[in-house]
Symmetry: C2
């Protein structure tokens, strides 16, 4: 995950601004002129970089899903490598997944917003691809979760994962009104709550 140090390309500028605008006002609520203006060029100049407005959204959504998935796979691999004989404790792997998702949710709020909001605006093929990536990501979480809580049935585990995604992806609703002290505290709170939610899902016993 070598942190980029070189200047962002024009394409990347456009994608970033488009993501922000799409998240703020919705895909159909933003015109190409606005996107162009946000990067200092105007209107149809965008077509030197993208085939069309749809292509920008597609690249954003595929990028998000892919990034989440490959990040998670990487973390699994690291855990397997560091764990020696019989792998790392499942709890540790789950924590790693949660941490990765939180980092993404806090660093790229517009993308997180787009991720579950504008999927249906894609052409059939792109939508299928994104959904497939999303499904893989979910299944990966489900597997780890069921190692931590073996009593959890698969459908319930899948629901639990989706619900925790909802919890972690709530970050866009937090800011705005002088919410939490800092990023670290927010991340830690979210992490604790996710673990708490999973624990409650995994052990039906309650007074």
């Amino acid at each position: 995950m070598a942190t980029r140090t070189d200047a962002p390309t024009r394409r990347e500028q456009i994608l970033k601004e488009a993501a922000r605008l799409f998240a703020e006002r919705g895909f159909h609520g933003v015109g190409v002129d606005e996107i162009g203006a946000a990067v200092g060029i105007s209107g149809p100049g965008l077509y030197r970089h993208f085939a069309g407005k749809d292509a920008m959204l597609a690249e954003l959504l595929v990028g998000i899903s892919g990034q989440l998935l490959t990040g998670a796979k990487l973390r699994l691999k690291e855990a397997a490598a560091a764990g020696g004989e019989d792998g790392t404790a499942p709890e540790t792997v789950l924590d790693s997944l949660i941490e990765g998702h939180i980092d993404f949710a806090l660093d790229d709020r517009p993308l997180i917003t787009l991720h579950d909001r504008e999927l249906d605006r894609l052409r059939e093929s792109d939508r299928k691809l994104v959904r497939q990536l999303q499904r893989q990501y979910v299944e990966l979480w489900v597997d780890v979760l069921r190692k931590v809580y073996p009593a959890l049935a698969e459908p319930a585990a899948r629901s639990a994962v989706h619900s925790v995604f909802g919890l972690l992806n709530s970050t866009p609703h937090l800011g705005r009104r002088g919410a939490l002290p800092g990023r670290g505290a927010t991340a830690e709170l979210l992490h604790r709550m996710a673990r708490g939610a999973f624990a409650a899902a995994g052990s039906p016993a309650r007074a």
Copy 2:
């Protein structure tokens, strides 16, 4: 909360279908002709019932926020009445709030979707009203939550509430792919997870 038995008025039909369509394809992604077609009339016939497309969205969003808030207030009042001298246990009140929110999230998924997705499409005045109702609703939860977990600071409590809303509002993402057995089981799972998340937020102690 006397359950309606009489037939829905045309206005209500329109609102219901509009909510579904807006949730599926976004406010700007749906045309008035489509909304009309969904209730058997076509296009501009809608203007006999609403001043415009914006008015439908406004009525939907104000209705949602209002319904959530008044429902919650009612539950608080019931709890106070049933609790005798020093009120019901805060835990019970919190459970009641959670239950109410889950009922709404499961029964009116399209509305839940709209609720945090299309707020910015409203005119200034309507948006302010909706935000005010939402804020009251949140503050009501925060108050109850901090009675259950007095160690929880107010900003953290507010964040926790928003996050649990994210968790509970994840219901639209559940269905579709043969998820959970039934509504009852889903509701119970969500409830346990919400309590677990709150508990984890309220007591920072962890091994």
